[in-house]
Symmetry: C2
Subunit: 571 residues, 2 copies
């Protein structure tokens, strides 16, 4: 491609409403242009990158045996009513009435449509297993679309749905897709982690998210430094610490007139934060379903995990206690609460790490006072023990190998065992080997194609712009020609190199716009072309080329053979 | 591709609601499946064909210098209000409210979005000319979606929009696109015609439609047998015939008690239909805008062209006259009307061919009577003359070369000079060479990608199914293996041929489903694979292959070299 015949529209201004780096750089590089909230036009430059991601996804899906089809973007209301999702999906579902007042939605996902397809087209176990995928535009009416294509309303997604007669078969395809996803992200040159995920309200048996790692990621991921283990921080198990030490101090009341946080109390007492316990007052339900006051205890340096807490008996719908409820049960104001000397009977749930503490500090249930030297069994009854905290860096890995590190990630893929939920609701059956109608098991597998573009930038950029991994770059190499109109030999040398590289399979762009070198180099760095070759009067005279890799700090002069080797060609 | 690992779902039933052959065959071949009115899922088989069309369109657009981008399917109401089309577009525009009650539509076309893109990204004449295209899903809320993907509501379209500083430049790009479209349809192996089209209400200077020729086409096309001239029948000029012969008969009243049509009168009188003139009574407006009774005359064997009629002064909003108006002005009932002896003053518009008649027959304006031997100038004043009829087969071509034939066509492409209409309405300007803001001229160029699939079938089918042109076929060749499980040598020979052909660049499918020959051959004929090779015990023993082209009536036995030559490979 010659840039003079392309439409490149970079800008120096930093867009005011762009909050994250990928959004800023995509706007500055002119990859996308906002049409309306959460709606973006992909410019010719942006589309080149998007298509590379799309192609990588398609080729790996094909190689893994999935079969591509194409479902409409507009889906009828009736199908969504069959699964109950017409009402349940919530505000993200863009509902539409056509000219005959019939109800439709813009598909945010396609479980209903594919299950409808399957119940028409699949009749026998002999047609199974089968995995259908499509790469199609989706729409989610985000309440607050932002971050450019990272959280756009209209986006490009690859969604696949597999059908199986047995759990074992579903498990095999799940692993097949898990492996294919790994190949997609590896091939795109991205650092990523497959993260064990919550199956949440949808039910189903297994689920992994694929995250591109980036400091700006929305999700915190706990990963083992000694194994493949990775999980969302909120889901990673905080394993039980070693046995509780013996008590060595007497319980005593300490004066903490204005110290209402563990941090302040620890500072006042000159002890480590890990010797204090934080009391979180909540309202749950007892076995009969009556309201029950509960004190959840985590170490002062830990954070309560609401998801884990809500999984405990009676806490499925817990809420924070009101100040009146707190005073009624504990006799003190927030800031001085603890499990000792409650005014009324309460339930105490201690995190595993709190249950393993001795000689610890808690609120005294008396305004202005804490208790130090507290010990379980002696000063208060042994508590109910559970894992109710977020893991932190340095915790032992739950799989027993290594310790946990915390990284941030951007979810770009998801594999999920759906089970029979959709097929059952939509009366999709096939005849099994015995000739009986059987409801097939389903798996679903998504990749956010357009989101990968933004995630890759979050992971690969510097102060000058985007640093594309080779496989995602709009072009692998740029030939920048200086003053082509002044010197025909320079123009010819650039043209020859441009042709040579393209012929050798290196996608190369010729910057023949006639810009001054600074502006040209700034553009090529901003749009992130991995290899830059400058052809100027000077280098032509010297019989060399000026080469610079996008991530290198300096340019170097190379002869033709040296340049070819840098580009991965035979010298 | 091995069919055992594909999803092919053909059916013998003829779908009840499919009215046209392409719809029937696409359903029977399992290329598409209906999701809801005008919404179709493209099965894996259908998608293979759709992608081939898409690729041909993309490659020819790229080769012609157009630049691909990707616009969202959902477009904001504000933009459509800027051009006034939010109200004017009519019921086909699918209007949507998002969760914040903001107005959007599902784009049926993208003039507004591309002009918005252009006014942001184009600032100088130096960036012009430029031609942006995208291949994107569109939606038109057809009041009566039918004919499968031929008139679906959601469909795939290539739309391109070019920007120019001068009429000359627009004209050049128009020709460039015209030529590129010809290459697309030629490459796809389709018989087509570029048809001069009406620019209609949109205004603009030039417009051609591209029609795939098929007997079932909705549009009638007049084409010259002696040149490239082609036009919609409704637009083709009916040229003036030779000079009027001299009068040779006296005008006389003839008794036609029950003869109310030209056909009946001609039969009664024993004359040719071309010697009669049909009178169509309509109401137009005179120069002051008052209602005016008009008699439009065409030859008995011709048909009035409403579009041409409406272009005449005073007839822009014409309507048929009521019986009361007819009786008031002519004194007779319909069936006996004519331009002679009107009761009140009327306007008479004669088609060119009527103006050239002598001794002709018209109604007498007296119930039960006609006049014969009528002559202009003698029996009634010379009329106003205009081209107000449809051309018919055998008319001279308007370009002076050859005569006209009539064919039926399916519109699959459209090129159009838009002029400044959109750019002006949306205040899109660029600086011209003198530094002044200039409103660019635009062209737009559409191709109905999904519609081409159906149109190709209308043109290429027989009683057994689809006969794809090579370039559109899901696979070029099918290797059908008979009883592979019984005979390992047969399975091996088929596998070897399958690999050999694919390696040679012939997209080949291996039918390894183990069906009996009849069912397998019926499937391959239905889905239209051009080349079929059968590998069976018999042919393996004979050291040959059984080959049949989809359009051939019989199979033939060929050795390997002969087979390769049939497939276009070196023997």
């Amino acid at each position: 491609m010659r840039l003079s015949q392309f439409h490149l529209h970079t800008t120096k201004e930093t867009p005011a409403d762009a909050e994250i780096i990928s959004h800023k750089l995509m706007l500055k590089a002119g990859m996308i242009r906002k049409l309306a909230a959460g709606l973006y036009t992909w410019s010719p430059l942006g589309l080149r990158v998007l298509r590379k991601v799309e192609r990588a996804v398609r080729e790996e899906m094909d190689a893994a045996g999935a079969i591509e089809l194409l479902m409409p973007t507009i889906q009828p209301q009736e199908l969504w009513e069959e699964t109950g999702r017409w009402e349940k999906f919530g505000g993200q579902l863009l509902k539409i009435k056509d000219r005959k007042e019939a109800g439709y939605c813009y598909g945010p996902t396609a479980e209903e449509v594919i299950t409808d397809f399957a119940r028409s087209e699949l009749s026998s176990y002999k047609q199974l297993p089968v995995n259908f995928y499509n790469i199609q535009t989706k729409f989610r009416d985000e309440i607050r679309p932002r971050f450019g294509v990272m959280r756009a309303r209209e986006f490009l997604m690859k969604d696949a749905y597999s059908f199986h007669i047995s759990e074992e078969c579903l498990g095999r395809e799940y692993q097949n897709m898990y492996d294919a996803y790994g190949r997609v992200f590896t091939r795109l040159g991205l650092k990523f982690r497959a993260v064990f995920a919550d199956t949440g309200a949808i039910g189903g048996n297994a689920s992994h998210e694929f995250h591109v790692l980036a400091d700006s990621g929305e999700d915190a991921i706990a990963f083992s430094t000694g194994s493949d283990y990775a999980a969302n921080v909120e889901l990673a198990e905080a394993v039980a610490p070693g046995p509780r030490p013996a008590a060595s101090e007497a319980m005593r009341k300490v004066d903490t007139p204005t110290q209402k946080t563990c941090e302040d109390v620890a500072a006042l007492l000159g002890i480590g934060l890990e010797r204090t316990a934080k009391s979180v007052a909540i309202m749950g339900a007892d076995a009969e379903g009556n309201p029950q006051f509960v004190l959840a205890l985590v170490r002062g340096d830990h954070v309560v995990n609401e998801i884990k807490l809500a999984k405990l008996a009676g806490l499925g719908d817990y809420r924070l206690a009101t100040e009146a409820e707190i005073v009624e049960h504990l006799g003190a104001q927030p800031g001085f609460l603890g499990p000792v000397n409650a005014v009324r009977p309460i339930r105490v749930v201690a995190d595993r790490s709190v249950a393993a503490m001795a000689d610890f500090v808690v609120g005294a249930n008396e305004n202005g006072f804490h208790l130090a030297g507290v010990n379980w069994g002696r000063d208060l009854p042994e508590p109910e023990v559970a894992d109710i905290r977020n893991v932190v860096e340095g915790d032992p890995s739950p799989d027993g190998h290594g310790t946990l590190g915390i990284a941030r990630g951007i979810e770009v893929g998801h594999v999920f065992q759906l089970g029979r939920r959709y097929a059952e609701a939509m009366k999709c059956t096939v005849l099994d080997e015995t000739g009986k109608a059987a409801v097939p098991l389903m798996g679903c597998y998504g990749i956010g194609v357009s989101r990968i573009v933004a995630a890759a930038i979050e992971q690969n950029h510097d102060d000058n712009g985007i640093c594309w991994p080779e496989a995602m770059a709009p072009w692998q190499a740029a030939v920048c020609v200086i003053n082509p109109k002044k010197d025909a030999a320079v123009a010819e040398a650039a043209e020859a190199l441009y042709r040579e590289l393209n012929a050798a399979g290196i996608e190369t762009v010729l910057d023949d716009r006639g810009l001054r070198p600074g502006a040209m180099f700034a553009d090529m760095e901003l749009i992130g072309v991995p290899h830059r070759v400058v052809v100027s009067e000077r280098v032509v005279a010297a019989g060399s080329f000026e080469y610079r890799h996008r991530r290198a700090s300096e340019a170097e002069n190379l002869d033709r053979a040296g340049l070819r080797i840098k580009l991965g060609l035979a010298g």
